[in-house]
Assembly symmetry: C2
């Protein structure tokens, strides 16, 4: 179950021929209403792709009837011609569905700096429109068509019980590596049959991404194409409480974010960095981010070495203005073993078994307040270097 | 020629037995005067080793007669006992030389979180004192004894002509990997026979490190032990102009910094990232730093791929407040080939040959002002992952 789990949505995933591999590369998600509420969050990178430029404008009125997504080309740094390609894609969807182009969002992923095979993309749109369906298979086909170096399609579904009936929230995402702050390199479409207005959708989406995708930092890189779209059809006839909607959208995003980390390029460990007892959430996040950015920490985890000295060294790089703490009070635990207490050696690192599973829990206790944050990252492996040096992407 | 090039200095490098390998691990540099001017710059990490705590206090009066340095243990996160070890080392030097311990600076490098074999270190001090000499061989021995994963000792010498005669500035450094902002993981001792006071020495050293070691960023990690010491003996009887002294100290630091980058753990390319036409030097540095921190850029260079999309994507992560520029005006050249012009593809990346030499020049033109900065980094290689995952350090 995916973007077709909620009532009022159809999806398709087809092969337009953008990828040399010949695998599916064009996805379409359509909101059949009765409402056409939409909200979106984009990369904060100042260098953005033409699809982001287009979609930012298209979603401004809080409405969208369709999202068209492609892999096999990011359409970034492609100049005015690239923007025309994005526009032409929206027009092709509008013509195939009998709607206005301004109600069509566009999202692309792939290599930067190269023009898309736009004629193939435009020709593929009617094929996608012709295979739209509201069943599981269609949702999975869409999730598969947006994959790049992903090894599996990523989908998630949650439901909300309301006095007026059940509301469903479903989603799909792609992304593996280049997962970074203020959105991973990823495309994500979330659908719901909740009967909500644009303001409610926007509030729920922003809260959800801040606590999920923004806390995934695979390799510190921030993409030029990150796009998360939420569409609401109102087809359930039920309006959940704002907090319930936010919770369900957050749960779907969290589920998808975990799947992104688990499928990150070349990783052998998923690392959860929890910073506890910080003065503020921002302070905790800054410390967690400093640890997650360390190649030395990440390479040590790859080598199954709970090297707390490298962790402490990263914690110490955060300025006192950002995160007040006493370096001589820091505790570090790895998989529950407190290897560092009060800034010095404590339990033996030999007690930590990092080879047993992919999951690694690093906890840094600042002893400075009561705020806590968990950030997700991966280890640094030979496979990461290989994947990112052996071919352009 | 190294720390013994300037008049008034003796040095030694011996084996105290701290390293399992049995290679030299204890260095001593002594200033025989007539002046004993000293200045030092330390890591800005909030987690610092006991030697840094000791030496910060010892150098406060602007005077020092000796620096004792060891590899085979960083003495970081070792609690009050570790501080006693650093103090005992200074006392041992003071006793061997007949001076006060407060005139002895201590610097250590090696694994964090483990107590030093302090008894071996203290026992080694008289041996080092007994082999002090003012010749080239003694300078090289000291430079060799501070090596950890370095493959070669690093030394540099410059001279200044003054009306009162020639002034010499010499130095040695260790460090390979963990080269980062606000000092690399490294120990560096610079000696000069200039007749200068502590304020002049301090000003020259701070200016030099800001423009050299602070612009080396091998892997974004900041050590807990970084120490750069400048000692002036006054033995030449000549006092150079402040600008001349700064220039010579900067030249020695720049030479050593380049040697550190060239010897960085597992690197196959040395990358010079130059950001031109920025509004300010800080803006240029922030953009260069963003590019240098990207594992995707660094892995691409390892793969001999001049992937300008990844470079532009990193440039775009710098906020407009920090570095004003128009993303649609950015040019990127790699080894002199302008692969990106005005934010889009320009000359073919095929024209760039990254396999021909270790040196890579990346230039980003912001078209926003007239400030320029060059930052040095390395590529991300299989060897880096291997070195930093296969053993604790």
């Amino acid at each position: 179950m995916s973007v077709t789990a909620a009532q009022g949505f159809r999806a398709a995933g087809v092969t337009a021929g953008l990828k040399a591999s010949g695998t599916p590369d064009l996805a379409l998600v359509v909101n059949d209403g009765p409402r056409h509420t939409a909200a979106a969050v984009f990369t904060t990178n100042r260098v953005v792709g033409a699809p982001v430029m287009w979609s930012r404008q298209a979603v401004k009125d809080g409405a969208a009837r369709a999202v068209v997504l492609n892999s096999g080309g990011a359409n970034v740094c492609t100049g005015p011609g690239g923007f025309q390609d994005a526009h032409a894609t929206a027009e092709a969807v509008a013509e195939a569905l009998g709607i206005g182009a301004i109600d069509v969002l566009v999202a692309s992923t792939g290599l930067i700096g190269v023009r898309l095979a736009a004629e193939k993309l435009v020709a593929g749109v009617p094929v996608a429109a012709g295979s739209l369906a509201d069943d599981d298979a269609a949702g999975t086909a869409a999730a598969t068509a947006i994959m790049t170096t992903d090894t599996v399609p990523k989908t998630a579904v949650r439901t909300i019980e309301t006095p007026d009936g059940t509301v469903t929230v479903g989603g799909m995402a792609k992304g593996a590596g280049m997962l970074a702050p203020a959105l991973a390199t990823m495309l994500c479409v979330i659908t719901t049959d909740a009967d909500v207005d644009p303001a409610a959708a926007d509030a729920a989406l922003r809260s959800a991404t801040r606590e999920t995708f923004d806390r995934v930092d695979s390799d510190g890189a921030m993409s030029t194409s990150d796009t998360v779209v939420l569409m609401a059809s109102g087809a359930s006839g039920a309006t959940p409480e704002p907090a319930a909607l936010t919770a369900a959208v957050t749960a779907v995003c969290a589920d998808l974010a975990r799947q992104l980390v688990a499928d990150a390029e070349g990783a052998s460990h998923e690392i959860a960095i929890t910073v506890t007892n910080a003065t503020t959430e921002d302070a905790a996040l800054a410390v967690a981010r400093a640890v997650s950015r360390s190649n030395l920490v990440k390479a040590a985890i790859f080598g199954n070495d709970p090297n707390w000295g490298r962790i402490l060294s990263q914690v110490g790089t955060v300025s006192e203005e950002v995160a007040p703490f006493d370096p001589l009070e820091l505790d570090v635990s790895v998989n529950g073993v407190m290897v560092c207490k009060a800034g010095g050696a404590h339990e033996s690192p030999d007690k930590v078994d990092l080879g047993a599973s992919r999951g690694v829990d690093i906890t840094v206790d600042l002893h400075a307040g009561d705020a806590e944050v968990t950030l997700w990252t991966n280890d640094l492996t030979h496979a990461y270097v290989h994947e990112n040096s052996a071919y352009s992407s």
